[in-house]
C-alpha cells in the first residue's frame, strides 16, 4: 500500500484550479461513485481508474496524476461524460490533464534525437502534431 502526505499548499491548490479552469468543470462535484471508470472501455489499460484520478485532482496531487497513463489512454469517447451522475464532463477533465502537461511541462521534440527505427513507424500526422505541440519553434 502506498503512502501519501496530504497538504493544501499553493502548489496543490494551483494544480486543482488550473485543471478546473482548463476543463471548465467543478472537480469537487465528484463524489467518487466510480461510474466513469465502470463504463470506460479502456479502464483495463489505465494505471489509475478515472475516479481515482478525479480524487487525486481534488487533493491537488499533481505528480501522481501526471505520472499515470490514465489521461493518455483516454480516447475521448465521452462515455464517462454522458454517464456521470454529477454532470461532470469527465472527458474534458482528461483532456485538461493532457493540456496541462503540454502547457506546463513541455517536452521539446528534436527530430534529430528520434531514432531512425521509430521515424519509420510513426505516422506523419503524429510527427506534425507533436511538432506543433512540443517543438520549441
Amino acid at each position: 500500500m502506498s503512502y501519501d502526505y496530504i497538504e493544501f499548499g499553493d502548489t496543490e491548490k494551483e494544480f486543482t484550479s488550473k485543471i478546473e479552469e482548463i476543463s471548465g468543470q467543478n472537480i469537487f462535484s465528484c463524489y467518487q461513485c466510480g461510474k466513469c471508470s465502470a463504463g470506460c472501455a479502456f479502464s483495463n489499460l489505465m494505471e489509475k481508474t478515472i475516479n481515482h484520478t478525479m480524487q487525486l485532482v481534488q487533493l491537488g496531487k499533481k505528480e501522481k496524476v501526471l505520472q499515470s497513463n490514465t489521461h493518455w489512454v483516454c480516447a475521448s469517447c465521452l462515455t464517462c461524460t454522458v454517464r456521470c451522475p454529477r454532470e461532470i464532463d469527465v472527458a474534458a477533465v482528461m483532456e485538461a490533464i493532457r493540456e496541462y502537461t503540454l502547457r506546463y511541462e513541455p517536452e521539446t521534440i528534436e527530430r534529430l534525437d528520434l531514432p531512425e527505427e521509430l521515424l519509420k513507424k510513426i505516422p506523419n500526422i503524429a510527427l506534425v502534431g507533436s511538432f506543433r505541440k512540443k517543438s520549441e519553434l
Binding site: 500500500m1 501519501d4 469537487f28 481534488q58
Partner: protein
C-alpha cells in the same frame, strides 16, 4: 355452549406451511364446536361478516380465530363479535402465523402444531367468562418533562389545543441542545432565530406553566391520573424581579467554566445561561457561589437594584396531578474521554461537534472568528472525523448516530464561509444524508465550498508541534494518508442523556439495548411507551434531527391530548384479582409486580385484622407476574384464570 372456529389462510402466509383445511376439519371434531371455517383473509370485511353471520344464525356464544398474533387483530375481532352482542373478552385468538407458519417449514409438523394449539384454545374458550371494562376519571392536564425543542414543541401543541400543560426543565433555561447550535442544516438558518420565538411563546402562553431548574422526583398513579412530585431547586434570584441588568456579574468574584459554551469560556457564579434564556432571569449556582451566605460574600446582593437576590430561597416540592406525560429528555454526545486514539480529550485542539458550534458562533467564546482553544490562533485547516464512537460495535456504540454526517458537513460549510481560503477535510466511512434536501446540501458543500471528502477512518491523532498529525487512510486511492491540521472536530455519537436514564427509572420505562427509551412499537407506535399515558419525543428514543424531533413532539402532543380530552377512560379488563380467603399477606406479589399495582391492606376476618394483597385496577397491566408468583394461588387474572391455563396445558399434553 356453541363455539365457532375460524382459520385464516393469510394469503399464503399461513396456508403455505399449515394445511388449513385439515385444521378446520379437526376443529369440527372438538367438543362444543358448532362451526369451523376457513377464509383467505379473516381480518378483511367478508371474513368478519362470516363470523357475524354465524353468531346470528348458529347462535354462537364463543369465537376462536386462528390467525396472526393477537397484537395485530385482537381489537378487530373483538369489535366484530361485540357488534353481534357477544362479550369482547370471550374471543380467543390462536396465533398460527408468528408461532407456527413463520417459524416452521415442514407443513406436516406445522399442521400438527396448529391443530394442537386450536384444540387447547377450544378447551380454554369453554371456560372463558365475559369481563367488564372499568372506567376511570381523567385529569385534563399534561406534563412535559425536558424542554429542548422536543419538549417545547410538545408543550406548545398541547397548549394550542386548549389544555393546561406543565413543562419541567432540569437546567436554568429551556432550549436544550438546539440553543447551543450556531446554524442548522440543511438551510443554514440561525438556530437561535428559529428557536427563540418558540421559547418566548412558552414563557407567554397562559396554558403553559414552566418550572425550570427542577426535576421530577416521583410519579405514582396511572393513565389519566398521574400523581407527580416535582422538586424545584432554589434559583436564589427572584424571577419576577430580575431585570437582567447584568450589574451583579462584574462584582461576582467566582469564575468557573461556562457549560453553555461547552466549558470553553468563563462565567460567574451568578449568571444567565445565554441572552435569550427563558425564564428570563439570572441564577446563582450554589455549588459555585461562595456559600449562599451573606456573611462570606454578598457582593451581588449589594448591587442588585430591584432586590431580586434571595439567599434564603429553599427547594420547593410541587405536587400535582396529570392525565398524560410526555418525556422529552434528549441526548448527550459520546464522551471524548472514551476515544483513546483521538487523544481522550487531552489534545486541546481536538474538539467535539458541539464545541465547534460554540466556537464558530458569534455569541460564543471566540465571538465568531473561529479561534482554536489551545492558543487562540485563527484556524486555517480543519479535519472533521465522522463516526467518532458510532458504528463501532467492538469498542464504542454499535449504531449510526444519524445526524453527524449532516452536522459535520454543515460545520465544514460554515467554516468555509468563515475562512474562505481555509481547507476543510471530512474523513467518512459512508455519507448518510437521509432527509429532505440533505443530499443536495452535502453536494453543495463539496461543489460550492470545495469541502474535501476522504473515505476512510482516522486511526490516530497526535500533537505535533502546534499542529495535530492526522493519521488516516484513503480507501478509494488505497493509500495511507497523513496530514497536519490546526483543529480536529470529532463527530461524536449521540447517546441517551443522563436525564433520560434518570426519568426512565422514575417512571419505570423500558429501555432498549442502547439505553434509549423503548417505543411501544418501532414503526407504528413511535411515541408510545411501555406505560399507557406516557409518551416520548425527540432524541430520548434515539438520534434525531430537528425536523424529526419536531414532528414526533407533535404526535406525542396529540396522543397526550387524546387522553386528557376525555372525561373518563377505559382500563384493561384482564387484570389481576385477589382471593382474600386464600391470601396470607406474604407480600411476594407486591415485590413482583413491575407496575407497583399491588399493596397490602388491612382486612377484618373472624374479628381479627389481617394483611391481604389488593390490586389497583387502574395500575395493573395484566402481565400476570403476580399470579405466577403467588405460592397460595390467591391471585388470579381475569381472562387467564388458572383453570383455563390448566385446560390448555392438559389439551396440549394429550397429543
Amino acid at each position: 355452549m356453541r363455539i365457532g372456529v375460524y382459520v385464516c389462510e393469510c394469503g399464503k402466509n399461513i396456508s403455505a406451511t399449515v394445511d388449513v383445511e385439515k385444521v378446520v376439519d379437526y376443529a369440527k371434531s372438538l367438543p362444543n364446536v358448532a362451526a369451523s371455517r376457513v377464509y383467505k383473509y379473516m381480518c378483511a370485511d367478508p371474513g368478519q361478516e362470516l363470523i357475524k353471520k354465524d353468531i346470528e344464525e348458529l347462535k354462537l356464544d364463543k369465537v376462536i380465530v386462528a390467525a396472526c398474533s393477537p397484537r395485530m387483530h385482537e381489537p378487530t375481532f373483538r369489535a366484530a363479535i361485540e357488534d353481534k352482542g357477544l362479550n369482547p373478552y370471550t374471543l380467543e385468538i390462536v396465533n398460527i402465523r408468528e408461532q407456527v407458519s413463520w417459524v416452521h417449514d415442514d407443513k406436516k409438523k406445522g399442521t400438527k402444531k396448529a391443530k394442537s394449539l386450536v384444540k387447547s384454545s377450544v378447551m380454554r374458550s369453554a371456560l372463558m367468562e365475559p369481563l367488564d371494562r372499568k372506567k376511570v376519571g381523567v385529569t385534563h392536564k399534561a406534563l412535559v418533562i425536558g424542554a429542548g425543542i422536543a419538549g417545547i414543541q410538545a408543550a406548545l401543541d398541547i397548549a394550542g389545543s386548549g389544555y393546561q400543560v406543565t413543562l419541567v426543565e432540569k437546567t436554568s433555561s429551556i432550549g436544550g441542545k438546539m440553543a447551543q447550535l450556531d446554524k442548522t442544516f440543511p438551510t443554514l438558518d440561525c438556530s437561535a432565530c428559529i428557536l427563540s420565538p418558540k421559547m418566548v411563546e412558552v414563557g407567554r402562553n397562559p396554558n403553559i406553566t414552566l418550572i425550570a431548574n427542577a426535576e421530577v422526583e416521583q410519579v405514582d398513579g396511572y393513565v389519566g391520573n398521574f400523581k407527580v412530585k416535582i422538586k424545584k431547586k432554589p434559583r436564589y434570584v427572584i424571577e419576577e424581579r430580575c431585570t437582567m441588568c447584568d450589574d451583579c456579574v462584574p462584582v461576582c468574584p467566582v469564575i468557573v467554566h461556562d457549560e453553555y459554551n461547552e466549558n470553553l469560556s468563563p462565567r460567574k457564579a451568578i449568571y444567565i445561561a445565554f441572552p435569550q434564556a427563558i425564564p428570563a432571569s439570572y441564577i446563582i449556582n450554589p455549588d459555585d457561589c461562595l456559600g449562599i451566605d451573606p456573611l462570606i460574600c454578598s457582593k451581588c446582593k449589594d448591587v442588585c437594584g430591584p432586590e431580586a437576590i434571595d439567599f434564603d430561597m429553599k427547594p420547593e416540592i410541587i405536587e400535582d396531578e396529570f392525565g398524560a406525560i410526555v418525556v422529552a429528555t434528549g441526548f448527550d454526545t459520546y464522551p471524548i474521554e472514551n476515544l483513546g486514539e483521538y487523544g481522550q480529550g487531552n489534545i486541546p485542539d481536538v474538539i467535539t461537534g458541539l464545541e465547534f458550534e460554540r466556537l464558530i458562533s458569534p455569541g460564543g467564546p471566540s465571538t465568531g472568528d473561529l479561534r482554536r482553544p489551545s492558543d487562540g490562533k485563527l484556524v486555517k485547516n480543519v479535519v472533521f472525523i465522522h463516526c467518532a464512537g458510532s458504528r463501532d460495535p467492538a469498542k464504542h456504540l454499535p449504531y449510526c448516530s444519524k445526524i453527524c454526517c449532516m452536522y459535520s458537513t454543515k460545520q465544514a460549510l460554515m467554516f468555509k464561509h468563515e475562512v474562505r481560503d481555509g481547507t476543510a477535510v471530512n474523513f467518512y466511512i459512508d455519507i448518510r444524508t437521509g432527509g429532505k434536501d440533505y443530499e443536495e446540501f452535502y453536494q453543495r458543500a463539496a461543489e460550492e465550498a470545495k469541502v474535501i471528502y476522504i473515505r476512510g477512518k482516522v486511526s490516530e491523532l497526535i500533537q505535533d508541534g502546534d499542529k495535530i498529525l492526522v493519521k488516516g487512510v484513503n480507501t478509494l486511492t488505497a493509500e495511507t494518508v497523513e496530514l497536519h491540521a490546526d483543529l480536529v472536530v470529532l463527530a461524536t455519537g449521540i447517546i441517551p442523556s443522563q436525564g433520560t436514564k434518570d426519568i426512565a427509572s422514575v417512571l419505570r420505562l423500558s429501555l432498549g439495548i442502547n439505553g434509549f427509551i423503548k417505543e411501544a412499537h418501532p414503526k407504528l407506535k413511535p411515541v408510545e411507551t411501555s406505560i399507557t399515558g406516557v409518551f416520548v419525543a425527540g432524541c430520548a428514543t434515539g438520534p434525531k434531527d430537528i425536523p424529526e424531533t419536531v414532528s414526533q413532539a407533535g404526535r406525542a402532543a396529540v396522543r397526550a391530548c387524546n387522553i386528557i380530552a376525555q372525561d373518563e377512560i377505559e382500563v384493561e379488563a384482564t387484570i389481576a384479582h385477589v382471593d382474600e380467603i386464600l391470601c396470607r399477606g406474604c407480600g411476594i406479589c407486591v415485590g413482583t409486580c413491575p407496575y407497583s399495582a399491588i399493596t397490602l391492606i388491612d382486612t377484618k376476618r373472624f374479628g381479627n385484622i389481617y394483611k391481604v394483597a389488593s390490586v389497583n385496577e387502574a395500575l395493573c397491566k395484566g402481565c400476570g407476574s403476580c399470579a405466577a408468583a403467588c405460592l397460595n394461588g390467591a391471585i388470579n387474572q381475569f381472562g387467564f384464570e388458572d383453570k383455563q391455563i390448566l385446560a390448555m396445558i392438559q389439551a396440549l399434553g394429550e397429543e
